[in-house]
Amino acid sequence: MRLEWWILLAVYIVTTGIIFFIPKNKIRLAVVAFLFKQVITFLIGLVVVELGLLEYPIRLFASINRTSFTFEYYVFPVVCAVFNVWYPEEKRKLIKISYYVIITSIMTILEVMIERYTDLLQYIHWEWYVSWISLICTFIIARLFCVWFFAKE
């Protein structure tokens, strides 16, 4: 098996492992965040691949889908779910902002490493900061949606 498939497998295991760290009473928040994030990432993923900005040489469901099922359908949404569950709601603004920045940066660094050292992802007309900006935007939108969804009427 190629290295990339091992990485994919590891990504699945780690991501699934993260799910178990979600406290039980916040599971509904996690589900909403997961589903909503999925809608955004899936659509953006389709658009960027269609425009030829990125490509995923090694992927699941390769013959029918040129986007990354793993990342857009599973990994990003799970990260977003965890992000929302552990969001520092009662803390100061600065902490909230750094929370966004840190998580987005970690995701971007991982993505750049995947891009550079494996065939899972290939930037064509794309830069790491575009990833960073789009990631932070999707986090913000997802957060706003969750707040609205659970707001008391």
């Binding site: 589903l35 269609e50 707001a151």
Partner: protein, 161 residues
Amino acid sequence: MILVAMWLFGIVGFILFIPRKDWRMGLFAFLMFQAIIWLCDMPSFQFGLLSAPVREFPKATDLPVTIDYLFYPALFSIFYVNKKVRASLWYSFTYYFIWITATTLFDSMLEKYTGLLEYKLLTWYGMWIYIGFLFYTSEICCNWFYKDKSRYKQNEGGGTS
């Protein structure tokens, strides 16, 4: 043309047939159905059960984006929100039957008269079972979510504002 119509009807239908106060529930049903239809359609398309010759992102994916992403989820959310919660078995059964049959009819018309869908190994009754399965699974998931409404408001409503 039909794609534009589906976008229009999907959005307008959502606004018209779902009361404003139920928008959250409708959106949740929408999201849930969407997650499930993607997951189920990936293998179905991969194994050649059906295909979509004319589609929105021909390069990025072989799946029909409008149908999976907007139209069927919108249908399902209308279905879910307007369903009576405590109803007789007979009522639920008929309700299901009508919705699934109507969706299947629409689907096979798309198959027959347009290039948007193309059944391969799948037949119309296969599609009926498939759609029924999608609706049923999504409904179970949504019911789980709304199972204990009072508790979910207390635990999470307070902490996320």
